[in-house]
């Protein structure tokens, strides 16, 4: 956490507003934040807040988003190290292209080091077209930890309804951008992204299970809501701006993807049930 925060303080972009938020961590996270910031005398405007209760990552980030005064927002997660030119490079691409969302390459590993691999090998800086963003499964170019966006991307659509959505924001946000000013991927690695085999979210959600049908079924549970969200988003944009060929094509892509996803989800689920398994709270863990 301390290294992640220091990497933000070292950004070489002028006039940066840095909003740090601790989501009511049970450990000493907020103390670490205060310690790092105590002696900071640099050019950036920095503010640190602690939620009065745990809100979850989405709602916590939304609170910071609403408090930000800037029109272009760079996300920085608590365990990733941003390189000093990260904000400058993504803001520059945003200014040149008008992209609503900029994602970028990264070095990946358990600890920073010279042997870390690239998130996307042989990458090219390019626009990610809508048909690619919704017509195929998730790709590393859509990694949420690398998101930077025009604030209007969120004010147009509003926050996610977390009764419907889970991890799938990474699927939805790039496609939302394609409905507005576009989504661009920057080939240059601009951060160290921490990744290890025990990544808790994926494990908790059954997305990395020994049984391929459990993984595929869980994937349906996370991916289908994202496609449904995109249909609602398309409807919202059309209500505000009227129909367009681009959005019609996007809708068709979403519907085809929905059918494909629900078909493979259905097969996996039926195989699990055919094998005598049921989705249930394990005995002894049900409180």
């Amino acid at each position: 956490m301390a290294a992640a925060l220091r990497s933000l303080l070292k950004q070489d972009h002028d006039d940066l507003e840095i909003l740090v938020r601790d989501d009511h961590s049970p450990d000493d996270t907020f103390g670490v934040i205060q310690h790092v910031l105590r002696d900071y005398r640099g050019p950036h405007h920095v503010r640190a807040d602690r939620n009065e209760r745990n809100l979850g990552p989405h709602d916590s980030a939304w609170r910071s988003l609403m408090e930000a005064t800037g029109s272009f927002i760079v996300e920085a997660h608590g365990d990733d190290i941003s390189y000093p030119n990260r904000v400058r490079e993504v803001a520059s691409l945003h200014a040149r292209t008008g992209a609503s969302l900029v994602t970028h390459n990264a070095h990946v590993g358990a600890v920073p080091g010279p042997r870390n691999r690239l998130l996307v090998e042989d990458a090219q800086t390019r626009e990610l077209p809508g048909r690619e963003l919704v017509g195929q499964s998730w790709s590393w170019a859509m990694l949420g930890a690398s998101f930077s966006y025009d604030k209007r991307l969120w004010t147009t659509f509003g926050p996610f309804d977390m009764r419907r959505m889970s991890l799938a924001g990474d699927h939805v946000v790039p496609a939302r951008a394609a409905m507005l000013g576009g989504c661009w991927f920057l080939a240059e690695p601009l951060m160290f992204w921490r990744f290890h085999s025990q990544q808790s979210t994926a494990l908790e959600c059954g997305l990395r299970n020994e049984d391929p049908d459990v993984t595929a079924e869980a994937k349906g549970a996370h991916s289908l809501p994202a496609q449904l969200q995109l249909l609602r988003d398309l409807q919202a944009v059309e209500a505000a701006e009227g129909p367009s060929h681009v959005r019609d094509a996007l809708r068709q892509n979403v519907l085809v993807r929905l059918m494909s996803l629900s078909g493979s989800w259905s097969r996996s689920r039926t195989r699990l049930e055919g094998a005598g398994l049921r989705l249930q709270v394990p005995k002894g863990e049900d409180g």
Binding site: D211, P225, S266, R278, L279
Partner: protein, 263 residues
């Protein structure tokens, strides 16, 4: 004309063997075929047919193995309905159709306590009646079609709805506007974890049914395709919304449910 009525285990276990016997009392001339050991044991009817890893595959294998001209499935709570239908719906007048249903569309929403389904849910014609619900499995199917249709890689209820969709696409679906008794109302979902799990399973089944039909539609070039798609797609989207919300309610619990052996 010989008709085989296929009884899977869950049909018999759900409503009890006495109720099955009562429902079948008027179904003379119908061969009864038990697809699972529990059904065979409780009804004392022949040896069970057990072939194929999934319920749907066992049913299809059992159907093909008979010498009947028409076969009927019995969904878990529809034994009485199917038996009456086999006798009443007039298979002999099917005029080239190979998939025949009766007036029970929408019966999941039948009034509590049974009785006649609401009139607006009984519609003539194959495409306008197609809701993708499991209710269409109050159907009878020509056995030879089961042998010649290209296999679907859908399994479970999705496979059966895929079959119905193929019938609709080929114009070989005859819907007889002939209301029969509504099935017993489904049990309430209950509350707490049991209720959440029950709601998740119920909504998942619905989405599985519709997925089977939509996959067939998606790859079809039939002239009926667009009409059916317009009809089924909104139902599928609603089913997907209902399932994802039910699943999310489970996943947001402090202890997530897992796929573990039942029982």
């Amino acid at each position: 004309m010989k008709v085989a009525l296929l009884l899977p285990d869950d049909s018999v276990l759900r409503i009890g063997s006495a109720a099955v016997r009562a429902a079948l009392a008027g179904a003379d001339g119908v061969d009864l075929l038990c697809v699972g050991p529990a059904a065979a044991r409780s009804l004392s009817v022949g040896e069970p047919v057990l072939s194929g890893p999934t319920r749907a595959q066992r049913l299809v294998a059992a159907a093909i193995a008979t010498d009947a001209e028409w076969v009927a499935w019995c969904p878990p709570d529809r034994v009485g309905v199917s038996a009456r239908f086999v006798l009443q719906a007039g298979i002999g007048e099917s005029k080239g159709a190979w998939f025949v249903t009766c007036g029970l569309i929408g019966s999941h929403r039948a009034p509590a306590g049974g009785g006649q389904p609401p009139a607006e849910l009984i519609r003539p014609g194959p495409t306008s009646a197609w809701t993708g619900r499991l209710d269409v499995l109050t159907a009878v199917i020509r056995r030879d079609m089961l042998k010649v249709l290209p296999p679907t890689d859908q399994v479970g209820d999705g496979a059966l709805v895929a079959l119905a969709t193929r019938a609709a696409l080929s114009g070989a679906w005859l819907h007889v506007n002939h209301p029969v008794a509504a099935p017993a109302p489904r049990a309430a979902d209950g509350t707490g974890d049991a209720g959440l799990l029950s709601a998740e399973r119920r909504t998942a089944l619905r989405l599985q049914e519709l997925s089977g039909g939509l996959e067939v539609l998606h790859t079809s070039d039939s002239p009926n395709r667009d009409q059916l798609m317009q009809h089924l797609l909104p139902l599928m989207l609603r089913a997907a919304e209902e399932w994802t919300e039910a699943r999310r309610a489970l996943d947001m619990r402090p202890v997530r449910p897992r796929w573990t052996p039942s029982g």
